[in-house]
Amino acid sequence: MEVISDFFQAIPYDQILIQTLNGIVTGMILALIASGLTLIFGIMDVVNFAHGELFMLGAYIGVVVLATSGSFWLALVLATLVVAIIGAALQITTLRPLIGRDPLTTILATFGLSLVLQNYALWQFGPVARKIQEPITGQFTLFYLEYPWYRVLIAGLSAAIIGAFWLFLKYGTYGIWIRATTQDRVMAQAMGIPVPWVHTAAFAIGAGMAAASGVLFAPLVGVNHSMGLDWVLKAFIVVVVGGMGNLGGSIAASIFISLLEAYASIWVSPAQAVIVSFVVLILTLLFRPTGLFVPTPK
């Protein structure tokens, strides 16, 4: 009995609560990135390696707009729009010619894009990380920590964007076009839906969502040219664990994995906590290759 009660006393409950909050905040950011990625995968079988770079570009455009206008919210909106336009342009120039080819070629093409964008950012903005000021600076006390309200706001805003996106997919005319194209490309085309443009629009929406999360997340870590790499890997894991092309699944998986990583980082360094999500991915692939959050296919 002594051992058991010792064990329960050894659990750092305050840290667990703090890490739960942290996990949910990063989970929501990750969900915002991953839902764009899974939209793009679901609709056109493109594994977008450049998604992390769109996230990074969004953050940089946020830095630039914030420096000139001084408004964080304007930066958020403009970055989203500009990166959505960039995304549409990239899709038209590099991915549209690859429609109908092996999906693996799209991995290679987007990998090429990611190299170009990353080095372009390095060239334009230099290797020194830029800071974005948090738009609100209030804090509340959580045990021994002063927890910034901004983090809670990020989680709320991400949830709002994802919610709006979901409503758009569910009820908007163009949302229905997107879903129809995801389900059956040929039939959608036969019904008069302009499928190539739906692809472009979906890519633009995914890019815009990545950019929005980039701006939202930037105040926490600073902006540099390689910030996208970690996130794109995590987003890949989430998209596979959640089930490729499954929006709800990838949101659930984002929060699940971020929570696990947050808890793991109580005991090991954050760099090693990443291994937890790798392990989750491998176990998922071994036992439920279609994803954790979808019904097992018959």
Binding site: V47, P97, Q118, N119
Partner: protein, 317 residues
């Protein structure tokens, strides 16, 4: 006809080999080193061609095998005194083969994109381990060591000069090429190619395709590890940067640029990529990946066969 074109093939092979043997005698030091490096990266790319070109599985995790070869060689060179070249190769190969078996066991259950992502994640796992396990691997700084002497125990031993290093690397790469070529033409290689063409049908004929895939990944990992050992010997250090997935990405780029499924194509691809890098870094300095990336994307769209793709049948006869 077939006999004649075989003769032409071997004449071409001997000519190129002869040129590569003579090259270090005429080239200045910088290009000599550059050529050796092309051969090493070419060997890495060639090893992944077994998967990409012949079995139809795109591996995004070759950096793990390459890196483990490097660190295996480093372990042998640092722990065993005096440093021994052959022991370094053995350690490197054992390291990369062990990792390859582990990766192969899990990743070959998956296909297409899932295989690519799983291998990518595996290589990142090893990257994180190597990066954070500072006591053993030296962490971010990596490990430095001295170059072993070229020799056969009991017979002779001479320190490497840049010419002998080049010839040694050339000998290893040529032997590897001949072995891999033989393998791809063997019944085993035929099964791999039929997996690429139609996995379901190959299974239906009665081949245990999982086993074939595991062996293919191990074989590929073994040669990638060999490339890692050579690179470690050439540069006298091992660093976690070489385990990072960008190296795997570059390996795939070499393959696509040179032409997959040709074995020599990836070497040509590596040469092409490194030359582009050399040329563009004159104007773009460290941002050379901007033009190189654009060229790569253009090649995927307009030239999916790569530089040597048109010779594919001829090279595989």
């Amino acid at each position: 006809m077939s006999k004649r074109s075989t003769t032409i093939y071997w004449i071409g092979f001997s000519l190129i080999l002869a040129l590569l043997i003579v090259a270090p005698l005429v080239l200045p030091e910088f290009w000599r080193r550059f050529l050796t490096e092309i051969l090493i990266w070419g060997l890495l790319a060639m090893s992944s061609d077994i998967l990409i070109g012949y079995t139809g599985m795109v591996s995004f995790g070759h950096s793990a095998f390459f890196g483990l070869g490097m660190y295996g060689a480093a372990a042998a060179l640092l722990m065993v005194k005096p440093p021994n070249l052959w022991l370094a190769i053995v350690y490197g190969l054992v390291g990369s083969a062990g990792i390859a078996l582990f990766v192969a066991y899990f990743s070959t259950r998956l296909r297409d994109i899932y295989f690519a992502i799983t291998t990518l994640i595996f290589s990142q796992i090893f990257y994180v381990i190597i990066f954070t396990w500072t006591d053993v691997t030296g962490g971010e700084n990596g490990l430095t060591f001295s170059r072993p002497a070229l020799g056969i125990p009991g017979l002779f031993s001479v320190p490497f000069s840049s010419e002998t290093l080049h010839w040694f690397v050339l000998a290893v790469v040529t032997t590897s090429y001949l072995i891999l070529r033989r393998i791809t033409q063997s019944p085993f290689g035929m099964v791999l190619q039929s997996i690429r063409e139609n996995e379901g049908r190959t299974r239906a004929i009665g081949y245990a395709i999982e086993r074939y895939k595991i062996v293919a990944v191990m074989l590929s990992g073994l040669f990638a590890g060999l490339a890692g050992v050579l690179y470690a010997i050439q540069n006298r250090f091992a660093a976690p940067d070489f385990v990072y997935f960008l190296v795997s990405g570059e390996t795939v780029i070499f393959n696509v640029m040179g032409g997959i499924g040709t074995l020599v194509g990836p070497i040509v691809g590596a040469a092409f990529f490194l030359l582009l890098r050399e040329a563009f870094s004159r104007f773009f300095t460290e941002y050379y990946l901007i033009p190189v990336g654009v060229i790569f994307i253009a090649m995927i769209i307009f030239m999916p066969q790569g530089l040597l793709g048109f010779m594919r049948r001829w090279l595989n006869q």
